[in-house]
Structures are given as structure tokens and as C-alpha cells.
Amino acid sequence: MRPENYQSVSQPPSNEFELFYGPNHPGIEGNYALKVRVHGDEVTSARADGGYLHRGFEKLMEGRLWIQNIALVPRICVPDPVPMEVCYSLAVEELGGIEVPLRAQWIRVMQLELSRIAAHLFFFGGHAATTGMYTPMFWGITDRDLILDLFEELSGGRVYHIYNIPGGVRRDLPPGYLERVSKTLDYLESRLPDYDNLLFTNKVFVHRATGIGAMTQEQALEWGVTGPNLRATGLAFDVRRDDPYLVYDQLDFDIPVEAAGDAWARSLVRRSELKESLRILRQVVAKLPHIGGAIRAPIPNPLAWNLPAGDVYTRVESSKGELAYYVVSNGGDKPYRVHVRGPSAMHAVQVLEHLATGARIEDVAQIMFSLDACPPEVDR
């Protein structure tokens, strides 16, 4: 059983050669691989190769209690774990007919937006790094760390918060927490001009990113593109507004769009989204002190908790796009079937293959990163 990396080396026609992007390659996001066939500088065909991060989540979840799965779900998308937790919790709550207390819903919105900011900061760094500029990565990840600090204080974990639980959230806000959120928001806002100077008005970066991996709105819809990548083609669709969950219908925010559909537009959309998230967080911080009550609806002993039979499809807007869980219960204490629809499942496979074909070698990495594909969502 020889690894195929070595098998196919001598196969391509003589005027082409095969290049492996990944799994061990800095131009690939996470542990993922893209095999490209190159003619000169141009990619003639690209094949995505996943499964390096495959853990069989859906199978594992069938073997664990409803509550035990809360520790499992954030692992499905490491850079942006909160939507995973919330989406799973929403599904379980809908199946069990559990009414989530208002305070918990607002806390969830706060986490979701913090997580979105963290993911976007990560994204900027990654996108810039594919073009050889590492400073935004250093800045972005450092600033993201402040959000992780907030998460750590809230949930006890920096990356895997495991903080949302069917019924609500696991702990109330620590004293003085919202002030610290506010302070971090101030700081992030003060940093935005720096990012603009360094990245978003950088002539070389604009030059590098413009026109790369461009798709039209029709193509995007045909390929099942969602989230910021879809909005970068001009369609103002956001699950938060158009299929609202939690308390998003009580919040005031815009849906940024760009028309070009290229890597640059995708970066700009995320930049604007980050600002919108800051705006949402301001509203949450203002509102949350006035919302009292429980943080969790009473749930039965988790060791003996059957959910009524049924199925439910819940969707949330993650930083990558439309995240959905299809959960089936057969009335037991464990899920009968969970299907995770990660947004990257589309982006990292067929969209990436389409966009990479015909692109130049130097742009392949940028295309992947600008789609903000998250391989664990594909592999699950």
C-alpha cells in the first residue's frame, strides 16, 4: 500500500507535471491536499484530496449521549468552533422542545460574533501569508488571542469552549465580563486602521488579490457557494437575517456585499463583516445587562435523557458560510444520525477545483485561503 504521492509521479504527460499542494504544504489550510497538474505556470487540472482529518464524527456522535456530543462538535471546525456548538444545541433543543432562556440566547449571539471576529482575523493573516506577507498574520493572530482570552474567561477554554449545552449555556458571565468585552472591542476598533494601512490599501496586495479565483454570482449559486464567498459575488444573503435564529432578528446589522467575486472581494467582505460583528457586539453588550433570568433551561439528567423521535435541520451562519446540522432521533438517548453540512464541504472541494483549474501556481494557495476553507469540516 504505497502512498499515492509517490505512485503517480511519473505519470503525467511529458509537457505537464504534477504538483502536490499538501497535506504538508504551507499553501494549504490545515491538513488537506490538492493535486494540481501544471503546464508551465498554469494549472490544467486540480483534484482535491481530503480525509486527512477524517475522524468519523458522524459515527462517533451516534455512539455518544446527547450531552456528550457537546465536547465533540467544536472539533469539527477548529478555527470557528462556536457555530458548531450552537447549531448542535439548537438542533437538540428543537428536537426536545426546549425553550432557551433569553439571556442564554444573547450570550450565544455574543459568542458567535466573537468567534466570527476571531475567525476573520485568522483569515486575514492566512490570506496575506499566501501572498508572502506575514505581518498581518502575526498581528491578526495576536489580536485574535485577545478574543481567546475573553473566551477563556467565559468558558474556561481558549479554543474549545464547550460552553453551549442543549438548553442554554454552562456558566453565567463572570463579574465585569461585559466591560472587558467592551474594552477588547475598543481595542480591535482602534486596530482596524492599522489593518487597512497594512493590508486593505496595500497596492501590492490589491494587485495580487484582484481577479484571483473570480466567480460570477451564477457560478457561485451553481456550485453551492455560501456565506461571505457568496456575498462577495453580490448576493446579499445571510442566514442570520433571512433564516433567523436566536435573537438575530432583534439586532441591527448590515450584510456587506461586493460584486467582483474574486479573492480581493472575499477579503473585503470579511473585513466589512468584522465591522458588522463589532456593531452587533456593541448592541449585545448594551443589552445583556438588562436581560436577567436563567442561563439554561432545565434539562433532565444527561445520563438518562431520551429525545423524542424526529428529525431537524438547523442552520447557522458561520464565518465560513452556511453551517447546518441534520439531526435524527429515534427516541433514544443518543442521536440516531447526525449529518454535518460544513460550508467548506463545498468550498474546499468543487469550488476550489473549479477555481484552481486555469489559475497560476502562485495563486492556488491564495484561492484556497480566500475561500476560507476549513478542511476538518470537509473530512469530519
Binding site: 475522524r55 498574520m137 485574535r144 474549545y160
Partner: protein
């Protein structure tokens, strides 16, 4: 893995000339290399699992690994440390073994997160390997799921101290007990598993040959191994493909 106890503790500072034969210059030189090795660690930029998400913070400004002389490197040839950040799926494990064999010694493997020790939270998963140390020698484990950047840095500093003291020598173990590791690999990947690296040849060449280098599993390897085709260079220079050394040649 049950055989853990039987792993001999590799002799410390095996390279050092013993006793009075060593001259001062050689000692100074050894000290210098040990010091430099510990102060300059290139880690392979390979995100094998979810623990990789805490490496960017550890590398970037807030925790700045570079002040310890640690920096990410892109290819296994350049790297000293292989960070196995969490669970390894079977598919990834093959790549990790290839990667590990391509690295130049002394090389160090760091197992981060629970998953590298005993399967972690994916212990029921059909897709992941459970005990990393079965497949390659591990020099340092860092506990956590996932460990914070500070913990990663603490682990790296611990490793640096070990290297400085000449203790982290598990890479020799891979040569000396290749049969053991290969056996575990074969168990997981099937008996016709082979890598393009000639570990046995390297072991002979670098004087790392041990009594357990060869065994039943390497015999199996020889039986199943298909010669890897040399990569044809169209410039007409000849030569071999990345890291591929035809195993038959050196025997």
C-alpha cells in the same frame, strides 16, 4: 502500547568519546553542537490535527517562539521537530511516517494533545491511530486538549533542556528498533506497506544499526517491496526522486 516498558532508555550522550580519550577540543565542540541544537529548532509546518490551532499563537507575537530559536520550516528536510498536533488519521499517519523518515537526524517528535497518547476523544474512531509512539519514537509529550501556547512553549523548553543535556536521543531508537516500528506500521497499513526511505541502509551507513533493526517485519518488507522507479529527469541529469533511494542498491 504494552511494549512501552521494554523500550530501552537510550544511552545518554552516546556520541561522546568515552573517558579520557576525548580531547578538550572535541568536548568543546560537542558542547557547542548540543547547545546550538537546543537553541535552534526548526519545526515542521504540518498541521496534523486540531492542536495545530494553538501553534499560530505560539509562533506569533504574543508568545513568540522565535525568541527561543524555534521557527517553522516548510519541508521535512529542513526541520528538526515534527509536531504531531493531535489525532492522526490513518491517512495522515502514513504521511507523518514518510515525513519523519525524510527528516535529518537528530530529529525530535513532539506529541501534543491527548490523542497522540491514547487515542484521545477519538478513541472509538475507526479512522484514527491511537498510540503515536507505536509508529515512531516520541521525545516529548505535551498534555492538553489542546495545550495552550504556554504549555506548548513549556514543552519545547523542556525539550531544549533535554537536548542540551544530550538526553533526547529517541531518533536513534527508530533505527535501532526499526523492526518494531515497522511491525506496528504493517499491522495498521497492511503488510505490503513500504516507504521510499531506506531506513535500514541509513542505519548501517550512520552506524545506528542495532540488533532489533532487522527482524520478521523487515523480512516481510523485503518480500513485498517493489523497487521504486527512479524519477526520470528530463534534463538528462539522471538521479533519484525525492528522498527515494533504491533499497536494493545498498545491500
Amino acid at each position: 502500547m504494552s511494549t512501552l516498558q521494554s523500550i530501552p532508555v537510550v544511552a545518554t550522550k552516546a556520541e561522546k568519546p568515552s573517558g579520557g580519550t576525548g580531547n578538550l577540543l572535541a568536548n568543546v565542540f560537542d558542547e557547542l553542537t548540543a547547545f546550538c541544537r537546543s537553541r535552534s529548532l526548526f519545526m515542521l509546518h504540518y498541521c496534523t490535527g486540531c492542536g495545530a490551532i494553538e501553534l499560530p499563537p505560539a509562533m506569533t507575537s504574543r508568545f513568540d517562539m522565535e525568541r527561543l530559536g524555534i521557527q517553522p520550516m516548510v519541508t521535512p528536510r529542513q526541520a528538526d521537530i515534527l509536531l504531531v498536533t493531535g489525532y492522526v488519521s490513518t491517512k495522515t499517519l502514513k504521511r507523518i511516517i514518510l515525513t519523519y523518515e525524510q527528516m535529518n537526524s537528530p530529529k525530535y517528535v513532539i506529541g501534543i494533545c491527548s490523542c497522540t497518547v491514547n487515542g484521545g476523544m477519538y478513541w472509538q474512531s475507526y479512522a484514527t491511530a491511537k498510540v503515536l509512539a507505536d509508529y515512531m519514537p516520541v521525545d516529548m509529550y505535551i498534555a492538553g486538549c489542546m495545550p495552550r501556547p504556554e504549555a506548548v512553549i513549556s514543552g519545547l523548553r523542556e525539550l531544549m533542556a533535554n537536548i542540551r543535556a544530550g538526553r533526547s536521543d529517541n531518533w536513534r531508537d527508530y533505527y535501532r528498533r526499526y523492526d518494531h516500528y515497522l511491525g506496528n506500521q504493517q499491522r495498521l497499513f497492511g503488510e505490503n506497506w513500504q516507504t521510499p526511505t531506506d531506513v535500514i541502509g541509513e542505519a548501517r551507513h550512520y552506524g545506528q544499526f542495532g540488533p532489533e533493526t532487522l527482524g520478521e517485519h523487515t523480512a516481510l518488507l523485503e518480500r513485498h517491496q517493489t523497487p521504486l522507479l527512479p524519477f526520470e529527469m528530463r534534463l538528462g541529469l539522471g538521479g533519484e526522486k525525492t528522498g527515494v533511494e533504491n533499497k536494493g542498491d545498498k545491500r
